[in-house]
């Protein structure tokens, strides 16, 4: 255990120097690109917002089943089968037929090549489950059907969320999928997440629909409230235009009455439909509906064939800007709910960094002093190893540009406290060996050898705990397990290479000395 070849000594020195330089690159700027890596600060240290959004897929499922009603009706009409009594209860579509066509309907749904009920070829499971009882059918989404629906609405929602956040222009946002119905948004440096929260909370489902006077509209009608809550109006369910037809939307100041408005332009299909609707509907009111609330319902005075228009609605400049942004980035497939939020202001972040650094510094000094008092010359060796341990640990975090959190700093401080353990085990063992062995070299050698299993066991147990935390913990806690886990490896390296090398150099020079340790 006590022999080091020259090459090894050079190698250890180089590695130590390398990490000292890398670790220092957090403090200084080097002119080499490769050395300009930096540790990322977690949201708890640099300030920022962490938002966990959950997609509410229930309305989507209901909407899809609702759409299915017409498809099923028409599909079986061609086969001269009459389907009656459609009803939607608890995300299950109910309908009835006569006794004779019962089997045909079940076969149509359960066939492997069913057009009504796809997916079987790909997933070995149908999109829909069907059960029958007394000629009454119950159709609902199968497990696979739900998974596919959730995945696709998550993909769409992720895209829309990204567009909205990019439009606001925060720096380096992190937008990730979580499970199959959640989206994680991390916004570093964001002081006030109010605006983003309100923008992400809106589905932004825009429709243009006529206001009717009665309920006997052939498409059905519904009573909707105005955005400002002032009044209500009955609006047809027939959609003239939707947000999908928008090409662009911008906030503008109307020079005539100094009102802020949102100008929009439509695609070709939208422009055609808008032109037709405005020409046939002169004198009628056209309601502009966003997420089930009427923004405004102007009276059509003229045919608008240019494919562009204006939304009024008593906007402030801010609200017009936000509406334009929402319309530009598109509608979410389903409503999003914020189910977890953690926001740290920048000054608390800075306070945490300061507190963490002071704690690290003081903890470090205390441990170093204690070890020096306990072991004198070998204490110095242990302390040199400890300092290099810190550099290597910070260096590794820097190379991987890992994220440092406040619990992460706690992990580093704890590593400082526990890192000396291995050296203590070794030195205590050497002391014991020296009681029966007069030859210093032999005693040191067997001290290293005999303490090895205990050191290994002790570190593996801590590593196990760190690994579990890393895989099961969330956010800042992950940062703790990361520094604690890496700390174990850097500790073993510094103990077995650096501290041992220094011990060997010292002992071989003073091997005749009595009471060496």
């Amino acid at each position: 255990m006590l022999y080091f070849s020259k090459i090894r000594i050079i190698f250890i020195t180089l590695i130590s120097l390398f990490f000292i330089i890398i670790a220092s690159s957090n403090l200084f700027r080097f002119s080499y690109e490769i050395l300009n890596k930096k540790i990322n600060l977690g949201l708890d240290l640099q300030g920022g917002s962490y938002l966990l959004l959950e997609i509410d897929n229930d309305p989507v499922i209901e909407q899809k089943l609702q759409n299915l009603t017409l498809i099923i009706k028409n599909y079986f009409k061609e086969k001269n089968i009459k389907i009656t009594s459609f009803k939607l209860v608890d995300q299950t579509l109910l309908f009835a037929s006569d006794e004779n066509s019962k089997q045909t309907i079940l076969d149509e749904f359960k066939s492997e090549e069913s057009k009504l009920n796809p997916y079987y070829q790909r997933f070995k499971s149908h999109q829909l489950d069907i059960t029958e009882e007394n000629n009454f059918f119950k159709v609902s989404y199968s497990k696979q059907g739900i998974i596919n629906l959730k995945t696709s609405s998550q993909d769409q929602a992720l895209e829309i969320v990204r567009r909205r956040i990019d439009e606001i222009g925060t720096n380096e946002p992190n937008i990730l999928k979580r499970g199959n119905d959640r989206i994680l948004v991390e916004l570093p440096g964001l002081d006030d997440p109010m605006r983003i929260k309100s923008l992400l909370g809106k589905t932004a489902n825009l429709t243009f629909r006529f206001v009717t006077n009665s309920n006997d509209d052939s498409f059905g009608a519904e009573r909707l409230a105005f955005e400002d809550g002032s009044e209500e109006a009955i609006v047809s369910k027939r959609i003239i235009l939707s947000g999908d037809n928008l090409l662009d939307a911008q906030p503008r100041m109307n020079s005539e009455n100094n009102e802020t408005v949102v100008n929009f332009s439509l695609d070709r299909v939208g422009a055609k439909r808008f032109g037709k609707a405005t020409s046939t509907g002169i004198g009628k009111r056209l309601a502009i509906v966003l997420d089930g609330k009427i923004i405004s319902a102007p009276v059509i005075r003229d045919t608008i064939a240019t494919g562009s228009g204006q939304i009024t609605g008593g906007f402030t400049f801010q609200s017009a800007t936000d509406l334009a942004l929402l319309l530009r980035s598109g509608a979410l497939p389903a409503p999003l709910n914020i189910i977890e939020e953690r926001t740290v202001g920048p000054d608390l972040g800075q306070d945490s960094i300061n507190a963490g650094m002071i704690a690290l510094f003081i903890g470090f000094i205390l441990v170093i002093l204690y070890i020096f008092v306990k072991y004198k010359i070998f204490g110095i060796i242990t302390n040199i190893a400890l300092i290099l341990n810190l550099f290597i640990l910070v260096g590794i975090l820097t190379i991987f540009e890992a994220t440092l959190t406040l619990p992460g700093i706690a992990g580093i401080i704890l590593t400082v406290g526990m890192a000396v353990d291995a050296n203590v085990l070794i030195f205590e063992r050497i002391k014991e060996e020296l009681k029966n062995e007069k030859n210093n070299l032999i005693a040191f050698d067997s001290g290293y050898t005999k303490s090895r299993t205990a050191i290994l066991d002790a570190n593996i147990t801590t590593l196990l705990a760190a690994l579990i935390l890393f895989f099961m913990g969330s956010g800042p806690i992950k940062g703790f397990s990361l520094t604690l886990g890496i700390g174990i490896f850097t500790t073993l390296f510094t103990v077995y290479f650096i501290a041992r090398l220094l011990t060997v150099l010292y002992v071989s020079k003073n091997k005749e000395k009595i009471s060496l340790i």
Binding site: I409, I468, F480
Partner: protein
């Protein structure tokens, strides 16, 4: 040599009573779960006006229909921590901001806002419990591979003791259990194991070395031989933890406190619990010889 083994019985009685008291506390008093596990909203405020105090803030917020609101100082006189249960109102934070600005003037800095929904808090609690259980199980497996089953049982008994008594202290003092406490408990598990394993390693070595010494004496010899290491490591770890506790800021207080208790209990249990299990199971030279044959 200190005769630790003279007090094996006394400390065993003490430990059993501590565990029973802790379990009673956990059953009847329960734990003070923070919003991570209970759900709800937490706001950390700093005021620039020193006249604003806890009671004026509490009076103001209690008019807002927030349910059960808790307001207390956080670290110093001008920092406050406000907590309330889950609220249906999505704009509640905005409304609180407006309300406070209206009543006290624009004197607040919202330093931290955390809001955890009921679904997420239930998931966090579940994954925390799973993490601790998996950790205990893996430790059991590891030590079972490395040692004979008697040692495994001794180490696990010590682990359960440390975790239960630490949680008991948290219940007794009403300290908040949040995500960082789970991290602390897991680290305690690692530390306690680490300490136990070092002594066990020596017990096993001594079982091979001395063929005629009974386990009662042998554990005492082993504890004494490793004692200075046990103490030095505990001291350095505690120095680091005390430094976090006093200087690391309010956020890490709970974490470092749990760890400090854990390290103290962990050190105690590796001496007085893990070893006494070996004694009570009558571990002998045969136990390790059988292992060697395998």
């Amino acid at each position: 040599m200190i005769a630790f083994n003279k007090y094996y019985n006394k400390f065993n009685i003490l430990s059993v009573s501590l565990v029973i008291i802790s379990l009673l506390l956990l059953t009847f008093k329960g734990l003070n779960f923070g919003i991570d596990f209970k759900g709800g909203t937490l706001i950390e405020l700093r005021s620039t006006d020193t006249k604003i105090n806890v009671s004026s803030l509490r009076d103001n917020l209690s008019q807002m229909n927030l349910g059960d609101v808790s307001v207390k100082n956080f670290g110093n006189e001008t920092d406050f921590l406000i907590k309330f249960e889950n609220n249906e109102n999505k704009n509640v934070i905005e409304e609180i901001k407006m309300n406070l600005d209206k009543s006290f003037g624009n004197n607040f800095n919202f330093r931290r806002i955390e809001n955890v929904g009921p679904k997420v808090s239930a998931e966090l609690l579940r994954s925390g419990v799973i993490a601790i259980s998996v950790a205990l199980f893996l430790m059991l497996v590891y030590i079972w591979i490395r040692f004979e089953w008697q040692f495994s049982l001794g180490a696990i008994t010590a682990l359960f003791h440390d975790v239960i008594v630490t949680l008991g202290v948290f219940s007794l003092l009403g300290l908040e259990i949040n995500l960082s406490i789970i991290a602390a408990v897991l680290t305690i598990v690692g530390y306690s194991m680490n300490d136990t394993v070092v002594i066990f390693d020596r017990v096993r070595e001594n079982l091979r070395k001395y063929s005629d010494i009974k386990i009662f004496e042998l554990t005492n010899i082993s504890i004494n031989e490793t004692l200075s290491r046990t103490l030095i490591t505990s001291v350095t770890t505690l120095l680091a933890l005390l430094s976090i506790f006093f200087f690391g800021g309010e956020v890490l207080k709970g974490f470092s406190l749990a760890m400090i208790f854990g390290v103290i209990f962990g050190t105690y249990s590796s001496i007085y619990i893990a070893n006494t299990v070996l004694v009570r199971l009558n571990v002998s030279q045969k136990t390790v010889l059988r292992e060697d044959k395998n």
